[in-house]
Symmetry: C2
Subunit: 125 residues, 2 copies
Amino acid sequence: MSKSVVPLTVADLGAEAPCCPPIAQNRIPAQTAATLAPAFKALGDPIRLQLLSMIASAEGGEACVCDLAPAFEISGPTVSHHLKVLREAGLVDAERRASWVYYRARPGLMRQLAALLTVDESVSV
Amino acid sequence: MSKSVVPLTVADLGAEAPCCPPIAQNRIPAQTAATLAPAFKALGDPIRLQLLSMIASAEGGEACVCDLAPAFEISGPTVSHHLKVLREAGLVDAERRASWVYYRARPGLMRQLAALLTVDESVSV
DNA sequence: GATCGGTTTCGACAGTTGTCGAGTTTGATG
DNA sequence: CATCAAACTCGACAACTGTCGAAACCGATC
């Protein structure tokens, strides 16, 4: 796999949020933990994980609720609830166009979480 | 053991299971979501996030409960509870030596979660 | 073997979460 | 304007979570 070494700068990861070094590198401050834990919590549900994946991997980078909801066994209101959790966690954005609401992933926070979990390659499993 | 009915466990994901492509690349299967959501859930608490960070960033790669517990305001049993959640999620391992119990991070799962959240660089925030 | 310190387990309790059905809002179209 | 469809909000309820104090467990040391 090609390793295009364009280093991410802090600016790439979102303006106000403090971009964190990996948790395996420095002890995470309490305030940072309090800020980022809700994002992990939002990912801690199988339905929300699938929803985010469907949104983030969708053609054009966005997905309509009318396409998301039928993919699950649960009721419409429950899907709406899960989308709200993802929204309030800062992982997705919603936009209404005509009768439909389209969701779009916000990659900034996802990158932060991924960076946080990065482990040095030399460490063995 | 019958493969077809036994649900995928966290431990199974370590060695030969194909480590998941980013959720922004392909729609994540329901079974993968069900397997990995508990790991995110375990990270969804500020205390557990700090505990994991203290463990993963500790000198020698391990940390004693006797060093972890005093770093928080909560009671000993509650720290123990959070460590159990991290353990059952597959994020840490525990080992008793003499009177003390040492915790060590399991980087395999952390790498999987990080890979899952990876977003293509070309995507703008 | 009795005791002690470190850690976990147990039982209880308040607060949160996931789920649903019913009702509400929003925009399009007859 | 009336109606319809899409999506959300509300209220309720069972299940789960974080927390604690008390008790149990496990090695070490007396």
